[in-house]
Structures are given as structure tokens and as C-alpha cells.
């Protein structure tokens, strides 16, 4: 059976591109879009796949990572999906990719101009847990009133002595909109700031997309006397020895012996031991 | 120099709950009070003595006449003053001690007496010191100052009320039966306070139940002629 190029029909892709243009024009602002049914369940990256489908061309080189790894089920499936419906080349090398679809990580290798990051987003609304009314969160965004989020940070410091948000750390985009960076670790948030790459975010179930254009300010929320300080594994990678990368913790036995390895498999392979 | 000039003051109650019954209380009341003078209002029981004081204090509204009070800005008609103007007059020009003490529960006696001074712009400490001195002058011992007056005896409550009226040094002090529930010693203190007020050029207007007191403090008396048809001063509203 033959599909249209990149699975979605041309009108659907046009509609998504139009929303993407709007998103790029208003950095960090959530744009509603007509999210389609995709041949995989919500929560598996339907938003990211639709965005990738809308922007991918024949000459693109696609990289897909899931938790930093190129070889997990989800990453492999999505790569194969686009190989079949668009016939595009894929790669595991960050440097060689023109589009990188990702779940939960930003590659360790610095992104370059011309590259596009596509983030899979489960919940685009950063205030979701604090204010359940969508009408009200829209109002708060319109007014730029984010004291609610600061309140949560305040309570974190009070309760835990620090802002204990390990992933999906709230950020201000272009000094205007509060944005969920998707569930990437707080460790990765600084990579978003002034990135030369275009960053696109798609939430299929929630039918929202948003964007951070190249060279845009992305600043994590913090207090003057409690600056942004993401936690990081203290040990170097057990495989490549890198001490600057983000690590996965691997429990080795029942006594709790643990080992840390790079979460970014491509980076780990390239990194000289 | 007159502090207060009352002319043709009239007051009646209209009792809608009793089918719109008109109850005249005061009619054609005309008198003056000069600086340094104490005027006693006299008249039969129910002749409207308390109502007159309340009307002059702005607590009751009047129907006719004028009541001009000397202020820093000249003579001001109390009866024509707006609520905010009356409040300003109460702050700076006239004080009034009713027979009943009405205060916020749980506020200390000292604070209640210091309040008129604070409203005149004195700072808390000075106001507190003067209030304490006034209470002590009225034989309210220091250990009572920090207590709310709700549990005080009738006489003690009345002295709190009097302390409030005298502490602010208002040019006109109006007293409604100030010694009604006081013993001889305390009545003498009140008499002394009235005399001091007069000597400092202030005016006192009072309703006194005790003829001896009238003879001792009053320079003149104003007799309210009795109106027919009424027997209560505050008919059935409370």
C-alpha cells in the first residue's frame, strides 16, 4: 500500500506548517493545531511525528532519539516509519542530521544552524498542575502573570531547600511566555538558550504546538538568591569516561551497586575513551 | 466668644413601624455656649435633653434650625454638615460622653481612650501616656488599663467614657449625665475636670441629674420646655 509522502496528506501538512509559522513568529506561545490520528497511540510521539511529517523533505537526514538513545524501540520504530513513508535517509550522528526528533533529551553534541529539533511533548501547558482551568491559564499567559509558577518554586525551596524540579523545568522564552521545555532533564535546559537550531514542539493528544526560533533567549525560572542549579551525576561515564555529559544511573545488583553511563549513545560512541 | 450657637433647633421622630407616627422631640431650641463656660441643659424627664446632645453631636439628624460650631475655619453649621465633616468636627472640635460605652470587644481600655488622640495625629506613645494619665486621674488603676472594659462595672465604664471625652482637649465637651453612676469621690473628679476645661477656655455643655452638680459647675442653665405627647427619648428603636 502506498502512502502520500511522509504519511500525511498535503493539506494536513500545510495546515500544520501554517500553525508552525505562527508558532515561530510568537516564540513560546502555544498554538492549537488540527492534530491527526496517527498509526500509533498517544504518548508515543504522535505530536512529534506530525511535525516531522509536515517539515521533512526528500533530502533531509533524520535522527530519532528516545531518552538520548538511538536504539530504543520507539526511536527505531519512528525512524523506520519515516524510511517507509518518506524514503528519507536516517542517521544516529547528531552532526549529520538535519531533523532530530527527540523524546526527553537534547543531544550532547552542540547543535548547528540549519538543524531542526522536534520535541515530543506530553503536556504543553506549564501551568497545568497549578491551574486546571484552561481559560484561566490562557489568561495568565496573555497577562504574562507567572507568579503561580514562582509560588511552586518558592514552596520547593521551603520544603526541600532547592527547586526540586528534575525534568520539564519551566522556562521563560524571549522574556515573554512561560514554556514547558518538554520532559527533558533540567540539565539540558541551558542548551536551548540562544541555540542556533530551530526548535519545534508538538503535543498530539493536546493538539498544541509551539516553537523556539534560532538564537532566542530561553531562561529557566529562579530566585535571585536561589539561582538555577540542575543536579548532575558526580561520577564520570563508566563507558567513555565523560564527566560533562548527562548520565543514566544503572543499578547493577541487589545491594544497590550503581554505575553511570552517558544517556546520549551517539555522544558516548564518539567520545574518546 | 461663642463656641456654640443653637437657633430654633427642631427634631422629631417618624416611626414607620408604628404606622408613621410623628413624635416631636425638640422644638425651637435656642441657646449659646461661650468659651470658658459650662451650660447645663435642664428640663423635665423626657423633655429631650439627651436627644439634644445627640443631635448636636451629629448622632441624630434634625429637621429644622441651625447649630453653629466655632472651628479653625470659622462657624460651621453642624446640622448641615456632611458625614465626613461631622467626623472632622468630632475629631477636632467636639467631644461627647454618652451614658453608655460602646466599643469593639477585646480592645484594651488604654487603647480606647488613646484613640481620639491618635485620630488627632499624636503618635502612639504620647497618646498612650496621656490616656493613662487621664484614666488614672479618674481613679481607674493601671492594672485595668490593659483590659477591655466589657467586664467593668457601670461606674468604671462611665469613667472610661468620660476619659475619652476629656482626653482630646476638644473646644466643646458634651456630657450626658456624667456622674449618674459615680460615687462622691469620682463625681468630684469629674467636677474638677469640668472646671479645668472651663479655665482653659473650653466650653462644656451637660445634662446633669444632680442639682448640686449644676450649682457647682454650671454658669448658666438652658431649660427645655416640655413638649406634649411624648415620653421616651429614643423611642423603641433599640
Amino acid at each position: 500500500m502506498d502512502y502520500n509522502f511522509a504519511y500525511l496528506d498535503e493539506q494536513s501538512k500545510r495546515a500544520i506548517r501554517r500553525s508552525l509559522l505562527k508558532a515561530v513568529a510568537i516564540p513560546g506561545h502555544q498554538i492549537p493545531f488540527a492534530s491527526r490520528e496517527m498509526p500509533l497511540p498517544y504518548g508515543w510521539g504522535t505530536g512529534g511525528i506530525q511535525l516531522t511529517a509536515a517539515i521533512i523533505g526528500k533530502d533531509d537526514v533524520l535522527k530519532v532519539i528516545d531518552q538520548g538513545a538511538d536504539d530504543t524501540t520507539n526511536a527505531v520504530s519512528i525512524r523506520q516509519f519515516f524510511a517507509r513513508v518518506a524514503g528519507v535517509a536516517s542517521t544516529t550522528k547528531t552532526r549529520l542530521a538535519s531533523i532530530i526528533q527527540t523524546r526527553h533529551r537534547i543531544p550532547e553534541t552542540a547543535l548547528q544552524g540549519g538543524q531542526i529539533m522536534v520535541y515530543q511533548v506530553p503536556m504543553p501547558e506549564p501551568l497545568f498542575k497549578l491551574e486546571p482551568r484552561r481559560t484561566e491559564t490562557r489568561m495568565l499567559h496573555a497577562l504574562g502573570d507567572y507568579s503561580l509558577m514562582y509560588l511552586q518554586l518558592y514552596d520547593h525551596i521551603t520544603r526541600y531547600g532547592r527547586v526540586a524540579i528534575g525534568y520539564d523545568y519551566p522556562v521563560m522564552v524571549h522574556d515573554r511566555y512561560l514554556m514547558s521545555p518538554s520532559p527533558i532533564p533540567a540539565f539540558d535546559v541551558p542548551k536551548m538558550h540562544m541555540s542556533p537550531a530551530l526548535q519545534l514542539f508538538g503535543a498530539g493528544r493536546e493538539k498544541r504546538l509551539y516553537a523556539v526560533p534560532p538564537y532566542t533567549r530561553v531562561v529557566p525560572l529562579a530566585f535571585a538568591d536561589y539561582p538555577f542549579a540542575p543536579v548532575q551525576a558526580q561520577a564520570p561515564c563508566a563507558i567513555c569516561g565523560s564527566s560533562s555529559s548527562y548520565k543514566d544511573e544503572i543499578i547493577l545488583d541487589d545491594r544497590g551497586t550503581r554505575q553511570y553511563v552517558c544517556s546520549d549513545t551517539d555522544y558516548c560512541e564518539q567520545h574518546p575513551c | 466668644m461663642n463656641i456654640l450657637e443653637v437657633e430654633n433647633l427642631g427634631k422629631k421622630f417618624v416611626l414607620h413601624l408604628r404606622g408613621g407616627w410623628h413624635l416631636p422631640v425638640l422644638q425651637g431650641v435656642t441657646f449659646t455656649v461661650a468659651a470658658g463656660e459650662c451650660v447645663a441643659i435642664t428640663g423635665a424627664s423626657g423633655s429631650g435633653k439627651s436627644s439634644l446632645l445627640r443631635t448636636l453631636y451629629g448622632n441624630y439628624r434634625s429637621d429644622s434650625g441651625t447649630a453653629r460650631l466655632r472651628t479653625g475655619q470659622g462657624m460651621v453649621d453642624i446640622l448641615q454638615s456632611s458625614p465626613r465633616e461631622i467626623l472632622a468636627l468630632r475629631r477636632h472640635v467636639m467631644a461627647y460622653a454618652s451614658q453608655f460605652l460602646r466599643v469593639i470587644p477585646r480592645v484594651s481600655t488604654l487603647e480606647i481612650v488613646a484613640q481620639p488622640l491618635m485620630e488627632q495625629g499624636l503618635d502612639q506613645q504620647v497618646a498612650g501616656e496621656r490616656a493613662a494619665a487621664m484614666l488614672s486621674a479618674l481613679n481607674l488603676p493601671r492594672h485595668l488599663h490593659s483590659l477591655p472594659p466589657a467586664t467593668f462595672s457601670g461606674g468604671e465604664q462611665q469613667r472610661v467614657n468620660l476619659a475619652r471625652a476629656f482626653v482630646g482637649q476638644h473646644p466643646l465637651v458634651m456630657l450626658d449625665e456624667p456622674t449618674a453612676s459615680l460615687d462622691g469621690d469620682n463625681a468630684a473628679v469629674v467636677q474638677k475636670l469640668i472646671m479645668e476645661a472651663k479655665h482653659s477656655g473650653r466650653a462644656v455643655l451637660g445634662v446633669f441629674h444632680d442639682p448640686a452638680m449644676v450649682r457647682q459647675v454650671a454658669d448658666r442653665q438652658y431649660f427645655i420646655p416640655s413638649l406634649s405627647e411624648h415620653s421616651h427619648e429614643n423611642p423603641g428603636l433599640q
Binding site: 509560588l151 538568591d225 | 421622630f13 413601624l17 458625614p83 469593639i104 470587644p105 477585646r106 480592645v107 433599640q238
Partner: protein
């Protein structure tokens, strides 16, 4: 040379501050039902105006109009903003919300409607300064402690969730959270209803102190005439959407003129 040596300094005349809010001839209807008819009022700094009347008389609707949450179908409200009195109808939603969270304060009957029950007591208190841009944790914390003491709550409860507080403490918390921005205009909607009598008395005393210390203009909606007498200098009596009688608090209560006010005053149960 532009300097002049003979410049005389005339002292600026000390004019009394004008009203903090003026309402002119407000009308409001729900569908065909006239809820408010020709309501006018003004409140000055340092003054408490009580709006009394039975439930259904339009008190709360009036308060909402004065707060900018509802728009009158006729008439206008001018309230103190960042630059003197401003007509509410001319304010953008953004300016209105900003004023509501800084220069004005609204204390509602049920503190649970205003408080964030999932945020600590101190977090609730410092929301306003944070919304206004204060981003220093230690300073915020100090402010929270200061205001907790001001409303007479044990500082040990600083980080407890409001759900663990009693009704009176919740109301104090709401008051602290509201007054922290030192509003020029305060709206109190039945602030002491639903509290025990002893708690009510303490709260009245607290409100009275705070109001007179901060020189706020206060609109107090209450059905309780005793509360109105103790807190307010002036009273406006509402009935069926109209102010039928207004004046000095003690005057309206001791010498009521309108038949309805007389009924209201005589209906109070003696303690």
C-alpha cells in the same frame, strides 16, 4: 544661564486627599431584572463605608461592579489606580488585573475561595509581591513571617498548608495575603460571617487596626449591623438594588429614617 536666583518657593497647598473611589449613578441588570438602580457613592482614604442590607439587595453585585469584575449598563466607577483616579471602563483587562493585585485588595467571605490550598501559608502570603516582580527568596520569606505576625498567626505555622488552619486563621491568612501589597482600596465581602463570635471579635479588632494604620479606603459589605457599627464611619443601606439611606454609621443606626432601615435596625436580636 537658566538658573534664577530670585526663585520664590511657594509651599504647595496641603489639600486633603480626594476620594479613592467614586461611583456615579450605577445601573445594572441581569437580563430583564434590574439588580442595581442609580447607585452613587464615594469613599476616602482612611474611611470605611459599610454597605448593609438583606441578601439579595444587590450588595455583592455592587461590590463586583466597584471592583471591575462586572460592567454597569449605565453609570461609571472611578477608582484609584497608578496615576490618580481612573475610570474602570477605560482600563485594559491587563491593567485591571494588575490593579486588583496591587493597589486594591478583595477579601471574600469564604477564604477557601481566595487561598491556594495546595500552597504553603507563607507562599499564599507572598503571592502579590512575587506577582509584582520580587524574586528574592529570603526577602519574600521575611515578608511572609512579618505579615503572619501582623495578623497574629503563630510564625511556627509559616510553612503549613492552609488546609490545617481553622476558619478564623484562614480568614487572617487571606487578609495577610491581601494587605501585603498595601492596597489603597480594600473590598471586604462579609469578612466575618461564618466565624465564631469570639473569633469574629478578634478579627474585627485586627481589621480596624490595619485599616486605620494603613489609611486604606474600605468598602465593607455586610448584613451584620453590629459589624458595620464597629468598623464603619459611614453606612449605606441597600434595598432592592437601591441605596435608600446613607449617612454617618451611628446616625443611620440610632436615628434611622427610612421605614426599611427602621425595620432592619429593630430586627437585630439583642445579645
Amino acid at each position: 544661564m537658566l538658573t534664577s536666583s530670585s526663585q520664590t518657593h511657594t509651599p504647595t497647598p496641603t489639600t486633603a486627599p480626594g476620594p479613592a473611589i467614586i461611583a456615579q449613578s450605577l445601573h445594572f441588570r441581569f437580563g430583564s431584572q434590574m439588580v442595581l438602580r442609580d447607585v452613587s457613592l464615594e469613599v476616602f482614604p482612611g474611611e470605611v463605608l459599610a454597605i448593609v442590607g438583606e441578601s439579595g439587595s444587590g450588595k455583592s453585585t455592587l461590590l463586583n461592579l466597584l471592583y471591575g469584575n462586572l460592567q454597569p449598563c449605565q453609570g461609571s466607577v472611578h477608582a484609584i489606580g497608578n496615576a490618580g483616579l481612573q475610570p474602570l471602563a477605560s482600563l485594559s483587562q491587563q491593567t485591571l488585573r494588575q490593579l486588583q493585585r496591587s493597589r486594591w485588595g478583595y477579601v471574600c467571605q469564604n477564604p477557601r475561595d481566595a487561598l491556594r490550598m495546595a500552597i504553603s501559608a507563607s507562599g499564599n502570603i507572598i503571592e502579590r509581591p512575587m506577582a509584582m516582580g520580587l524574586r528574592h527568596y529570603a526577602t519574600l520569606r521575611q515578608e511572609a513571617r512579618h505579615w503572619l505576625e501582623k495578623v497574629e498567626i503563630d510564625p511556627a505555622r509559616l510553612d503549613d498548608l492552609p488546609g490545617t488552619f481553622s476558619g478564623g486563621m484562614l480568614q487572617r491568612l487571606q487578609i495577610a495575603r491581601t494587605l501585603i501589597s498595601q492596597p489603597a482600596l480594600l473590598y471586604l465581602d462579609e469578612p466575618t460571617s461564618g466565624l465564631d463570635v469570639s473569633v469574629q471579635a478578634a478579627l474585627l479588632d485586627l481589621l480596624r487596626k490595619l485599616v486605620s494604620n494603613e489609611q486604606m479606603a474600605v468598602l465593607l459589605v455586610t448584613h451584620d449591623l453590629a459589624v458595620a457599627r464597629l468598623l464603619a464611619q459611614r453606612i449605606a443601606v441597600m434595598r432592592r438594588g437601591e441605596i435608600i439611606e446613607a449617612g454617618l454609621a451611628d446616625q443611620v443606626l440610632d436615628d434611622p429614617r427610612h421605614p426599611y432601615t427602621q425595620l432592619l435596625v429593630s430586627s437585630v436580636l439583642p445579645a
